[in-house]
């Protein structure tokens, strides 16, 4: 308890001393709506509510943060809400990959350029999982089995349709020439359970969605879709840590994919508004609670802001366009 207060105080000091925040003159005059373009209980929802809890616990803000779920139309409801609130500094939104996939797949009229980028909080990893009752120890063994079984015979379970999980599945298919039957479910927890129950043959769950079943010995990770291994070396199961999972690239499956967990604001807000929130998130990310959340979910803790962030998002958008075009996921294509 004491150390966390000390940390918060030092974080607050650091924030005050840093030149970027000295220009900060604005602060919220009423409660801030934190829009979540996804359902309750999912990864984005957990992260937004964790932020709310951290802000409240450490008193980082005079006003409160109120998370609101606007999940309709694969998140389009939330994005349109923020897009239409031009100039409103009391509204922020957490995004996942549906920032790119939803407008592309459904044709709903919005683009990340309609919003103001604030801060990247973290990037979420994807891991290729199989049931531990199977004999596959490497991605190659598994993909050979998929090929041998014939097109569409083995099933890949994932969250949602034409979103990140299906995009990765399509990328694997394009790279290796195998063909899965992709089965969309509504939530990551359900996907992991379907794999344990043997209703699907593999998944690309985020670490946090599958970790409990991994620890219980029901699932086996084959590789992680990042360019480097996850840095967490503490043992998660009896003999493995997140770090022990090889990258897919190193096993010959040359695909990397990370999902954005970032914050945006409405269009037309002033620079001091953006500065306020980057300052706030710097304080949030310095808390021990935040670090624990990152470790539990084996997140990639890249946290860009400003132009670097916008550039990253632009690159990622281009990548989604090409991935989704190749997979035939674009509306009206």
């Amino acid at each position: 308890m004491k150390t966390s207060i000390a940390l918060a105080v030092s974080a607050a000091f650091a924030a005050v001393l840093s030149p970027a925040v000295q220009a900060q003159t604005w602060e919220p005059t009423k409660n801030v709506e934190f829009i979540i373009p996804a359902g309750t209980g999912g990864g984005a929802d957990q992260m937004a509510r964790a932020v709310q809890g951290i802000v409240a616990k450490h008193g980082l803000m005079k006003q409160s943060i109120l998370p609101i779920n606007k999940a309709g139309g694969a998140g389009a409801e939330g994005f349109l809400d923020v897009k239409n609130a031009a100039g409103d500094p009391h509204k922020i939104i957490i995004t996942l990959s549906n920032l790119f996939t939803t407008p592309l797949a459904t044709g709903v009229p919005f683009n990340w350029r309609d919003l103001t980028p604030v801060q990247m909080l973290a990037l979420d990893n994807f891991v290729l999982w199989v049931n531990s009752k199977t004999t596959y120890k490497t991605p190659k063994e598994y993909l050979d089995a998929v090929k041998k079984a014939g097109p569409g015979k083995l099933r890949m379970g994932g969250t949602g349709a034409k979103q990140e999980d299906q995009i990765i599945t399509a990328a694997i298919e394009q790279r290796t020439g195998v063909k899965f039957t992709y089965i969309p479910f509504k939530g990551g927890g359900a996907v992991a359970t379907q794999l344990v129950g043997g209703h699907v043959d593999s998944t690309v769950n985020n670490p946090i969605e599958a970790v409990a079943q991994w620890r219980a010995g029901s699932l086996r990770p084959l590789c992680v879709f990042d360019t480097q291994r996850m840095p967490y070396k503490e043992k998660v199961t009896k003999d493995m840590s997140w770090y022990d999972i090889p990258t897919c690239k190193s096993t010959g499956l040359d695909i990397d994919y990370l999902m954005l967990r970032g914050v945006f604001m409405a269009p037309g807000v002033k620079p001091e508004h953006v500065n306020y929130y980057t300052g706030l998130f710097a304080k949030v990310m310095a808390t021990p609670e935040w670090r624990k959340l990152m470790e539990d979910g084996a997140f990639n803790t890249t946290a860009l802001k400003g132009k670097e962030y916008a550039d990253w998002v632009a690159r990622e958008e281009a990548r989604h366009v090409s991935l989704m075009k190749a997979a035939g996921f674009i509306a009206g294509q």
């Binding site: 209980g41 709310q52 139309g73 089965i183 969309p184 359970t193």
Partner: protein, 504 residues
């Protein structure tokens, strides 16, 4: 008897003065949340979740936090029945089936009796479900793993088939209402292809029709329009206003033990699967109507028609926590928020939770016993108070109801559009009643249509279009067969009677 010992230990954890105070706070908040339509249990828990974040950092704090939140959940389960019975407005999706007999009872001046029956059966359902969790959790926890898309579809099919024959209206009117419900449920994002459908380019329709808005309109506003037409008064004014009604009802309830047992079984099954409390209540009502000797009179104010859905809803709501804790799969929207809470508090739901977090798990299970007792005490003492609401003149209460309905519809998505939708649904509800179309199949299809459709299409993806997947193993085969038997029961029973008649 390891469980008894662990449970005893759990009571030790749960029975601190702070935790008991939290329990009552949670239940009272939950009842209020349950009463207000629109502000569902999931919202209530979500709003309070961050408050528990600091709480969970202290030793034993995670247990206190989940006690508070789960008690809100129990309270909401209890509270949902109140407005269903008094005003024909279900506060929560799972109390829709309670309106079928609960509201007619209130109109006949038996609001107290209906409320007591609802609360008591809720308690019985929850209690039996907790007992099941206490002693059978290792056995049943893995049961949900057997459920893939075909099995889920079979569960939904079973719900529809159990319910379909239960309205008094002609079968084709039932069918028409149900198909309209399916059509409404299809609006929005198609979960299997990820594309939008039936939105006609409107951004308001992206999210589809929210069930709560539809129910508030169809039942609440529709009912008020009808009452306006029939003369501005409530017919429930004769309701008894003392505690004696509770005791009298209790004397009567043991007669329906068979219904309670059946409904508990349906509820526990639906909770563990997890199918959810709403289908459980519909299925249980349908089954009770079919197998009760008084079945034909259901819908006119039979107490059994209140006992069945309430028992099942509470049993399902309680046992839904089991797949949440052991598999990380939430059985209801509220359970989903609780699940998020667990993770924020640093607890990892999953097969190892029962091993690694004994204090927490058994504290929670003990709090389920205590929380439900607390809930029962709170709501039963308020029965006369709730019944007294019906004495307020209609000209005062009706505008209040309309305002609450409007706020409820607005709260669902913070959208003005939903208030207009509520009005449209209100007019639809009025027309349905005037033309004697049943509302229940419409509502059932709106609630379950989307899930049933996803499960069916996932199953068809798995089998590449082969329907035989619905009979692929014993589990799914049994459920599908059972559903078909229930669907054709009137014909089957007629046939059986004929066969039996012939030799004689």
């Amino acid at each position: 008897m390891d469980e008894i010992q662990s449970l005893w230990h759990g009571f030790g954890v749960a029975l601190s003065p702070t935790n008991i105070a939290l329990m009552f706070t949670g239940v009272i908040l939950g009842v209020i949340i349950g009463v207000l339509p629109g502000l569902g249990g999931a919202n209530g828990v979500a709003i309070l979740l961050p408050l528990t974040f600091g709480m969970a950092q202290t030793p034993g704090g995670a247990t206190s936090a989940i006690i508070l939140l789960s008690c809100i959940y129990w309270g909401a389960l209890f509270g949902g029945a109140i407005t269903s019975i008094l005003f024909n407005i279900p506060g929560e999706p799972w109390s829709v089936a309670t309106t079928f007999d609960g509201y007619p009872m209130a109109q006949q001046g038996q609001a107290g009796r209906a409320l007591t029956a609802a609360f008591t059966s809720s308690f019985v359902g929850a209690f039996l479900a907790v007992v099941m969790i206490t002693f059978l959790s290792p056995v049943v926890a893995g049961f949900a793993l057997a459920f893939g898309p075909p099995e889920y579809f079979a569960v939904y099919l079973l719900t529809f088939c159990a319910f379909i024959g239960t309205s008094k209206e002609p079968p084709f009117k039932t069918l028409a209402a149900m198909m309209l419900g399916f059509a409404l449920a299809a609006v929005g994002t198609d979960t299997v292809t990820g594309t939008l459908r039936l939105t006609f380019g409107s951004t308001h329709l992206l999210t589809g029709f929210d069930f709560l808005v539809a129910v508030i309109g169809l039942f609440g506003i529709g009912e008020i329009l009808l009452t306006l037409e029939e003369g501005l008064e409530f017919r429930g004014t004769k309701a008894k206003l003392n505690m004696r009604v509770v005791l009298e009802t209790w004397r009567e309830l043991p007669r329906y033990w068979l219904t309670s047992v059946r409904s508990t079984l349906v509820g526990c099954f639906m909770g563990i699967v997890p199918g959810g409390a709403t289908p459980a209540s519909f299925m249980s009502y349908g089954v009770a109507r079919r197998f009760s000797p008084d079945g034909a009179k259901f819908g006119t104010g039979k107490i059994e028609g209140v006992v069945a859905p309430e028992t099942a809803a509470h049993a399902a709501g309680t046992s839904a926590l089991l797949p949440m804790l052991t598999l990380g799969v939430p059985g209801s929207p509220t359970a989903a928020v609780l699940l998020g809470g667990l993770m924020i508090w640093g607890l990892q739901p999953g097969p190892l939770l029962f091993v690694e977090q004994k204090d927490f798990v058994w504290g929670l299970i003990a709090s389920m016993y205590l929380g439900n007792i607390a809930g029962l005490i709170v709501v039963l003492t308020c029965v006369p108070l709730f019944a007294a609401i019906l004495r307020v003149p209609f000209s005062i209460i009706a505008p209040i109801i309309i305002v609450i309905c409007a706020i409820g519809s607005f709260t669902v998505k913070n959208a003005m559009f939903d208030i207009w939708m509520m009005v449209v649904f209100g007019i639809l509800g009025y027309l349905f009643k005037k033309l004697q179309y049943p509302l229940a199949p419409l509502v059932l299809a709106i609630v379950l249509g989307d899930n049933a459709e996803s499960a069916f299409r996932q199953a068809m993806l798995m089998s590449q279009g082969d329907l035989s997947i619905l009979f692929a193993n014993t589990l799914v085969g049994t459920m599908t067969t059972l559903a078909l038997v229930l669907l054709f029961w009137p014909m089957i029973s007629a046939l059986l009677a004929k066969l039996r008649g012939k030799p004689g």
